[in-house]
């Protein structure tokens, strides 16, 4: 079993709801795709080459400031439950964790993590430099990721083309290699049925949306990851400014939708929010999906001040710790144990009870 306590905040510092606009935005993630010059891309390389890549990046990381004290996890040497745990913490992609239905863990698949930044190794690209912040924090996140990129770039030789920029295994990432994603909660737009219009508008301006776990994941609990679609033809600054401007607009729409709901359908919304809260507070069995779908209206209720005594941080924690691997590890049972839904309901009850007291 891996020891996640080795990580500062267990690698979930981004959950603490301390960042800007935390009532709407859970986290901001930025990744830069980089490959080493003189090496073939991941799809064509051998186990030996992946070990070489791992070796040189780890050496560069040890000499760096930002990753000097990084914790390393070799996913190819971890049990499935531990890989799932890292994925549920948003530290590694599903692909790297080998969690796809037909997925196997690739030899050399690893991640280095130091506080809010890290690097995935032997993913689709040799390096995926990544940063994860609480709330809506594009500038802060990019500043760190950019600094780490510079540090590693001085010690390693990245594949770079004068016209195409940073070269990546898939041409959809070439150029800046930058993908910035903002994980935002939009229940107001979903309830007012405005969401499709907004998502369509975002697509028109070159942005894309995904689910809670990024690429290939479903939208659950009305959480949307909004990110830039293209990586070439604009500078990093332009990509971030554009995304930032659009996310601010979406945040405004969401606030407006919430005002409309409270004005025109106050009783319906109050009922929805408290009904969800009641279920979380007293249910005896919860699937993860049901928990997510109930946490969403409760989050809305906390956001608009209907539920006074619950902190966003608590809701964020529930989001992570009710996931199958997290709950199974905490409860000391298997992730497929039939008892899991009962344990989940008990866990949620306990957390909410300790927050609001027995009679809350």
């Amino acid at each position: 079993m891996i020891d996640l306590s080795l990580l500062t905040d267990g690698g979930v510092g981004w959950l603490d709801a301390s960042g800007p606009a935390s009532h709407l935005v859970l986290s901001t993630r930025i990744r830069l795709a980089r490959n080493l010059a003189g090496h073939v891309f991941q799809g064509r390389n051998s186990e030996t080459e992946r070990e070489e890549i791992l070796g040189s990046v780890e050496e560069a990381a040890r000499e760096s400031v930002l990753l000097r004290r990084a914790t390393r996890f070799r996913l190819d040497r971890l049990d499935r439950i531990d890989r799932q745990l890292l994925h549920e913490r948003h530290l590694v992609s599903k692909e790297l964790a080998g969690l796809d239905p037909d997925g196997r863990v690739r030899s050399g698949a690893s991640v280095l993590v130091q506080e809010r930044i890290g690097v995935m190794l032997n993913e689709e690209d040799h390096l995926r430099i990544q940063g994860l912040h609480s709330g809506f924090a594009l500038d802060e996140t990019y500043a760190e990721v950019d600094r780490l990129d510079a540090e590693l770039g001085q010690r390693l030789a990245f594949a770079f083309h004068p016209e195409f920029g940073y070269l990546t295994s898939c041409p959809t990432n070439v150029g800046t290699g930058l993908r910035a994603s903002v994980l935002i909660h939009l229940p107001g737009l979903v309830l007012t049925k405005e969401i499709n219009k907004v998502l369509h508008g975002l697509a028109q301006v070159g942005l894309t949306h995904r689910g809670l776990y990024g690429e290939g994941s479903e939208v659950v609990g009305q959480f949307f990851q909004l990110s830039n679609q293209t990586t070439l033809g604009s500078s990093e600054r332009e990509l971030l400014d554009h995304l930032g401007k659009m996310v601010r607009q979406v945040m405004d729409y969401e606030e407006q939708a919430r005002q409309v709901l409270l004005r025109d359908a106050a009783t319906v919304i109050e009922d929805k929010v408290w009904r969800a809260y009641g279920l979380l507070r007293y249910a005896r069995s919860l699937s993860f999906e049901e928990a997510m779908n109930l946490l969403s209206p409760v989050r809305l209720g906390v956001g608009v001040g209907l539920i006074p005594d619950v902190a966003m941080y608590t809701l964020n924690k529930l989001l992570i710790y009710t996931q199958p691997a997290h709950l199974a590890v905490a409860e000391g049972i298997g992730p497929d144990d039939a008892d899991l839904p009962f344990r989940r309901a008990r866990f949620v009850r306990k957390v909410l009870e300790s927050e609001v007291g027995r009679r809350g």
Binding site: Q154, F160, Y166, T176, G233
Partner: protein, 165 residues
Amino acid sequence: MSCDQCREREAVIQLTQIVNDQVTTLHLCEKCAAEKGVDSPGAHAKTPLGTLIGAAMGKSTEQAPAPRSSEVCVRCGGSFQDFRESGRLGCPDCYRSFETPLRDLLRRLHGSTHHLGERYAEREPAAVVVDNEQAADLREQLRLAVETENFELAAELRDRLRVLE
């Protein structure tokens, strides 16, 4: 910037068209763009890459001959056919080996082939620019750490300062 068509709403889409070798660029609002039949980049994104590659290749056959499937990258031995099937290139040199069809594909995917972001070769000097404010802040923290005899923290702060400077 206002829309080139209606001159009223704000332009949100840049439409570049090539007609008879003439490049025209229009800045359009959402409504006028829809009237011109411009679909969203998101719609492209949902198309599997393979279809796009196929489309790019189809287009490129009119202008430049696509590499025959037997042509391979000198560095990794991967063919363009391999790329069409997997959506992944074999190595950095593939970008040179299949430059012509890739340029078409990049134009369709990103609307451009030119990297305008940070340039790798020029990075080093940029990376060592001293962030004065942060350095001052670190120096102050270092002074306090030494004063309170927190030498472990002091050593770390000194390291961070060294990198900044």
